[in-house]
Each structure stands twice: as C-alpha cells, then as structure tokens.
C-alpha cells in the first residue's frame, strides 16, 4: 500500500512537471473577446449579420481584401487587370490550402460565385455576369456592364472549398466551416463561446494570437462587468453610459471610431403622402430645406448620444468614392429656426403641417430617443411629428418600397464597399425605371440628371471617372435634399491594457490584426 501511494505520488509529480514544462513552452498568446451576440451562421452564404461577419473573415478569405481603413488590396487574388471594359482577369495566389489541406484553385472561385447566385445572398454576385477558370490560377469575371468597383464588391465574397462544401451540404456548413482564413474553428457551444485556433500555414503569415475565444454577452452592463473582472480582454459595443467609468478605471481604455453607418431622414416627395392630409408639402424644396435647418444635430449628439456620434456632412464618409471634398451639409443648412420658418411661409405653409415619423427602437444607438428629439425640434417650425416607433422586425416591412405607409422615415445606411454608387443607385434612382435601381427609394425621389449620372458612373470601367460622376451626383443631392443626413454612430470598444486593437471601419473585429502582451 505504501509502495503504491508512493508511486502514485511520483507519477503525479512527473505529471505536474510535464504540465509546467508544457505551459512554459506553449506561452501561446490568446485573447477573449466579448461580443454583443452569438453568430447566427458560420457559412457565409447563409445570411449576414455582424457577429457572423466577424467569424466569416476569421475562417474564410475573399479574393480582394478590405483593410481596416477601407483600403482594398490583394487577398486570395494576387493581382487583377481589365482585359476589356467588362472583363476582369484575376491572378490567384498559388500554394494556398483550405484548413482540410485541399488546394485553393480557380475552380473554387467559379463554384463559389455560382453557389452564391442560388443562395439567400445573390446580391453578393449581382455585378458578376459570368465567371470562368482560364487555368488553375486565373479566373476571368465578366460584369453585365462596365463596372469600375468590381474588386470592392468581391471583398465580400468569401471563397468556399468546392469539394468540401458539396460533400457537407448547406445545413452542416454552418456548424463545420472550412475556409482558407487565418483561423480554424475550435469549438462552438451556442450562446456560450466560440473558440478559434490559429492556422499556422496562413498565406499572409502565421497569426500572432494563437487562440481566440468569443463570448456572447448581450447585456451591456454585464459586458462591462466581464471586462472589469478580467473575464474578457476586449468588449465590443461598450455602453455609452459606461464610457466614463471604464476610462477612469486603471488598466483599461476605451477605443472609439466613427462608423460607416449614416443615420438619415428620408422625406416623401410624392404629390400625395400616406400620412399627410392634402398635398404633400415636402414636394417643395423649401420645405425640405426648412426641415433640414430645424434639425439640431449638435443637440442630438450632445444630449441623446452623449457626444458619441459624428454629425454627417454628406451621404457617404470622406473615405468613399463620390465624396466631395470641402462640401458640408452642416454648413449649407446650419440650424436656423427663423430662416426655416421663413422658408415654410414662402412655400405656403406658415402654420406647418402634420405627418408621421417611422423609426425603430432596437436598431440604431438610442434610435427612439432621437425620434423624440426630432419631434420637439420640428415642432418649432410648426411641423407636428407623430411618432410611429417599432421594433426592426416590423420596421423593414412597414417602410418597404412602394412605401404605402410612410412619409418621413429614419433609418441608417452604410456602404462598406467604399463607394457611393450602390447607395445612390438604390436610394436615389427613379423608381421602377431600371431593374436593380431605386429599389429602396422610399421617398420616390426622381431627378433625371441624377439617374443619368448614376448610369454613367455604372458604365465606366475607370474608377476616377466614376468618382467624378458620383461627386456630381452628390452635389445634386445636397441641393435637392431628398434626405437629411444626421450623424454617424461611433463604434465603441473597451480593452484591457496590453491589448492592441485598431478598430475596423466596417466593425469586423479581426484577431489577425490584434496583438496582446
């Protein structure tokens, strides 16, 4: 008996020694990230939502890589060129393998494009007419018409392994992803945690952080608590009310960056509007200008957003194609109640009018409060806003074109593709004129000049020319005011000291770019 226990003790000691040695050698960097929600999918063609997007870009790669600052560069494609106006030739990276060891080739690209077309996300390949494999490492993509920003679009198309995806099937792909990305899936316990391990053979170099754990912590206050107790190293979406508290705490810092999401107010421009009695006053540019001048974006920022928003100066941020340098909606139409009242009187509405504002209460930061603030602001120029505030599950169907219920809508718009074109085409192109254009033109704005500029922009293969056309379009929109840009929300993260996090403009947290000490 004595002998036995002695041996057991020794065995135990050896075990401890081995474990200790293992720990000393391993010293692997790891990071715990608190997200606002669990991903819904790990299969890029199954749907789109922030937490899922974050996972997609760890597991998969696109042909064209979008940088943290919205610069576009080579991904799985090393280089590309225009063969003619509508034909693009992509040279693929050689020697890249999927996590299962399968080689990445042109056939996978062709497969992915065709697969996307049949999926719930055909929009990913809306600007691809056909794709052919020229050889194993060259693909040729044709667009339906000249389209200068095809590479930007392709940054959202994540390449699947043809053999694996076919064998696995759509439903299982969500649970067993297989890409070429910098991380492989470790385990995914729904609503509890998702772990990723480094893909050491990653083509762009071994990831610095070897183990990444994502934990969904929906309640904002709990997320803050999890950071302060050291349970996680990074949290997404720090609650506005906790910002000061975390800043004061030693050992933690707050990282913010203006997002791409522009909160905008769309005004109905039809002769008759669903919630307005009589003729629709907003057909008159002066009325639209008066409303724009009555909206105090600085007050909204200070009071509703705690200073954590950036008033927007145009419809797209300065990084985008189509942005006009030096032009600012805020300077063109500054807050001026007197001027606004005069404009209303000029237009024949000295006593104002009544309409309904449709807004969400669970989609944008403090959205319901913004709507309430707008009601009191517009009351000053005699416009009575009735608020119709609803959850997003009802909202999108309610405001949907042909917009039979709405006169005045608050929503948000972001264009991670870095180009105003798709937004202008969807939001401001005359309705029902051309397939794939004006499908979200909720205010029925129509300006032939605008349509022509979007057409021209969408038919030039030259990016600079596209930029010039879209800038012209921006100038028209700023004068016509079919919509009032309000502000960009800010993305707020909190990290413990020692974590390097450069937030991405598109919000897709990416452990490959992060570091810990």
């Amino acid at each position: 008996m004595k002998y036995l226990s002695h041996t057991a003790l020794r065995a135990g000691a050896v075990g401890v020694a081995i474990a200790a040695a293992g720990a000393a050698f391993a010293q692997d960097k790891s990071v715990m990230i608190g997200l606002t929600s669990d991903p819904s999918h790990l299969y890029p063609l199954a749907g789109e939502e922030l937490s899922s997007n974050i996972m997609y870009y760890h597991l998969y790669d696109p042909l064209v890589k979008r940088g943290a600052d919205l610069s576009f560069g080579p991904g799985l494609a090393e280089s590309w060129e225009n063969v003619d106006e509508i034909t693009w030739r992509f040279k693929l990276r050689q020697g890249v393998t999927f996590h299962n060891g399968n080689a990445f080739t042109a056939a996978d690209v062709v497969y992915t494009v065709n697969k996307a077309r049949e999926s719930i996300r055909p929009d990913l390949v809306a600007n691809v007419a056909s794709v052919t494999a020229v050889d194993d490492y060259t693909v040729e993509i044709k667009t339906p018409k000249p389209y200068a920003v095809l590479p930007n679009d392709l940054a959202e198309l994540l390449i699947l392994d043809e053999e694996y995806t076919t064998a696995t099937g759509d439903e299982k792909m969500d649970l067993m992803p297989m890409g070429t990305g910098p991380y492989k899936l470790g385990e995914w316990i729904k609503e509890e945690k998702l772990t990723l391990t480094a893909n050491d053979g990653y083509w762009a170099g071994e990831p610095k952080i070897k183990n990444v754990t994502f934990r969904p912590i929906t309640n904002p206050a709990t997320r803050t608590a999890a950071l302060l107790t050291g349970e996680v190293d990074v949290i997404q979406d720090l609650a506005v009310r906790d910002v000061d508290r975390v800043k004061k705490e030693d050992g933690y810092s707050v990282v913010t960056r203006p997002s791409l999401l522009n909160v905008v107010l769309a005004m109905d421009m039809r002769e008759q509007s669903p919630t307005i009695e009589g003729k629709n006053p907003m057909t008159d540019q002066r009325v639209r200008e008066a409303i724009a001048r009555a909206v105090d974006v600085n007050a909204i920022n200070k009071i509703v957003m705690n200073g954590l928003a950036t008033p927007s100066d145009q419809f797209v941020p300065s990084s985008h194609i189509g942005y006009v340098d030096g032009m600012s909606f805020r300077e063109m139409y500054p807050l001026d109640i007197e001027k606004a009242k005069a404009l209303m009187a000029d237009a024949g509405y000295p006593d104002g009018f009544t309409m309904t504002l449709d807004a969400t209460n669970n989609r944008y930061v403090n959205d319901a409060q913004i709507a309430q603030a707008l009601a009191s602001m517009l009351a000053k120029i005699g416009v009575t806003l009735e608020l119709n505030i609803m959850p997003k599950s009802n909202f999108w169907g309610h405001i949907r074109v042909p917009t039979e219920n709405s006169s005045f809508i608050m929503s948000g718009w972001d264009v991670p593709a870095g180009d105003a074109g798709s937004m202008y085409g969807a939001l401001f192109y005359t309705r029902d004129k051309k397939d794939g254009y004006g499908q979200v033109n909720r205010g029925s704005y129509s300006n032939a000049e605008m349509d022509a500029l979007v057409d021209k922009a969408d038919s030039t293969p030259d990016v600079e020319q596209r930029d010039a056309y879209l800038q012209e379009a921006t100038k028209i929109l700023m004068a016509d005011i079919p919509m009032i840009p309000v502000h960009y929300e800010q993305d707020i993260y909190a990290v413990r000291d020692g974590v390097t996090l450069v937030p991405r403009v598109d919000k897709f947290l990416w452990a490959y770019d992060m570091d810990v000490d």
């Binding site: 929009d123 759509d170 509890e192 999890a226 599950s393």
Partner: protein
C-alpha cells in the same frame, strides 16, 4: 389510472394544437421574416428568391398545413434565421436552463419551507416579522435589478464569483453539465440565486399561510396533547397538511422558470433557451417560436401531471381519476 392518462394525453394534444394555431396567427402581426434575412437594399428578385428558399412564398394556410404534416412526421421545421432544425436549436440550449432552474428551485425550497414553517408557527415573533418583510422584498424586487446588483457586488467589487457565462462543464450521458465541476458551481451560484428569490418568497408565504391555517385545526392540538414533539407536530402533522397549495405553486413556478428564465439568462449571459425565444421574437423567426411554445406547453402538462401524482402521495384521500 389508464383512463386518467388517456384523458391527459388527449388534453395535451389539444393544448399543443391550440398553441400552434395561436402562434401562427400571432406571427402575422410580428413582421415579415424575409426582411430579417435579406440585406436592406435587396432587389425584388433577391427577396423573392429568399422567400422561396424559406418556404414563405405560400399562403399562410398552406404554410400551416405544411407545418402540421411535417410535424406528424417528426419534423419541427427549420429556423429562418439559423437555417437549422428548430428543435435542435432549442434542445441544445435546454440542459443549461434546466440545470440553472433546478439549482434555483432547490435553493428556494431549502430556504422557504423551514422559514415558512417557522413564521407560520410563530406569527407574532420578531424573527417571523423580519422573514415576512424579507419575503416581500423577494417578491417585489425585479430580477434584472437583483442580477445587476449581485454582479456588481460579488463579481466586480469583491471578485468572489465570475460575472457571467457557464464555466467548465463535464459530460454525463452526452449532456454538458456544470454541476459536475467546481468552476461550473462557481458560475451557477449568482444566476441561480437571482432566479430563486421570487419563487423563494412566494413559496415561503404560501407555506406560512398554510401553516397558520393548519395550526388552528383540532388535530394539531390533539397531536401536541398526545405528546408528539414540537418538531414532529409542525413537520409531520402540520406541514404535510399545508403542503398541497405549496406543491401546486412549486409546479407552476418550475415550469415558468424553465420556460421564461430569459431575463436572468440575458443578464448572466447564461447559454440557455430563454434567450433564444426573445431573439426569435425580435427576428420574427416563427418556426423556433412555435416549437418553443409547444415545448413549453408540453413541459407544463408534464409538470402538472407530476404534481397530481405528488398530491396522492401527500394526501391519500386524493386519487387520480
């Protein structure tokens, strides 16, 4: 007994059917799930494609018929959002919830019964008054507030418990159980306490009321007179007769906590199924909501059945017919 079971089974089928009809009707008011799935600038053809892939291109009646026919074949439908079988989504989250609720119920009973008996037996005592005042707090304090305070005190301030999550688990019969690991216990304490407070207070008050009522009965005096100890009088004669309403409430609370522990789960980011229900409602994910509520109805039916059985054990005069 057989007749009783058959009656219960027919009742249950009826209840489940009614639940499915109600949910299907309700869902026509909660928004169109297609818009939760497609990007906001989707074109009409893209939306039509999504509608077809989700099976939403048919009339509601056809959709309901399809749902019923596949239900009979054991297929509960697929979530629109997750594109996974709805039943799987719920069942993989069920153990975590059940585990937390069981711990909470054990805590509630362990505290409520002795304190309730004491307060019922000594209604005028100072300690009883303190207990009753405390129980009033337990009923009236909202769970989310209690949860946040517990997190702030025990996790952030004193650092004795983790703020959230489930911690390590061990596998038993293929299920992941936290109660088998120290770390799991460490994680389950705060959410279970939060969840138990309301039930604890209700059970305590029911026990007290029952005991006070029973205390006036002649058989209690008789038991005392024949020389039984105070403890035996209270627990063997008194409690047993006061227990019927307590067991009823216990059953209802158990079902309620399993089905709707949503708030506690959200606050402690406990990976249970309550959160799934709320998320699904927000996303108009009808298949998950239907199956969830049918499962909840089933749980209630089963619990009620068990409660009936317990009645017969406590009081031999009651029999199942």
């Amino acid at each position: 007994m057989f007749g009783y079971l058959l009656k219960r089974l027919i009742q249950m089928t009826l209840v489940l059917w009614v639940v499915s009809v109600i949910v299907f009707l309700m869902m026509s008011f909660t928004g169109d799930p297609v818009f939760m799935v497609v990007p906001i600038d989707a074109t009409d053809s893209e939306i039509a494609q999504a509608r077809r892939l989700l099976g939403l291109d048919q009339s509601p009646l056809v959709q309901y018929w399809r749902f019923l026919t596949s239900l009979v074949q054991g297929d509960f439908g697929q979530s629109y959002v997750f594109r996974q079988p709805a039943m799987t989504l719920i069942l993989e989250r069920l153990p975590a919830t059940v585990e937390m609720v069981l711990v909470a119920m054990v805590m509630a009973v362990a505290v409520a019964i002795p304190l309730g008996v004491y307060a019922g037996a000594n209604p005028e005592g100072r300690l009883s008054r303190t207990i009753m005042a405390g129980s009033l707090l337990g009923i009236s304090l909202p769970g989310f507030w209690v949860g946040m305070v517990l997190i702030y005190l025990f996790a952030v301030h004193w650092g004795v418990f983790p703020s959230s999550g489930r911690g390590d688990t061990a596998e038993l019969f293929g299920l992941r159980i936290s109660l088998l690991t120290w770390d799991g216990w460490h994680h389950i304490i705060l959410p279970a306490v939060t969840l138990s407070l309301g039930t604890m207070a209700i059970l305590l008050r029911m026990t007290r009321a029952g005991m006070m009522e029973v205390g006036r009965q002649d058989f209690m005096k008789f038991a005392r007179a024949k020389g039984a100890t105070r403890h035996d009088v209270l627990y063997k004669h008194g409690l047993k007769n006061a227990l019927i309403p307590v067991v009823t409430i216990f059953g209802l609370q158990l079902g309620d906590l399993i089905a709707f522990a949503t708030i506690t789960e959200t606050i402690f980011s406990w990976p249970g199924m309550g959160k799934l229900l709320i998320d699904s409602i927000y996303r108009a994910d009808r298949p998950v909501i239907v199956v969830y509520l049918m499962l909840v109805a089933l749980i209630f039916v089963v619990i009620n059945f068990l409660v009936d059985l317990v009645y017969t054990l406590i009081d031999p005069r009651i029999s199942l017919k």
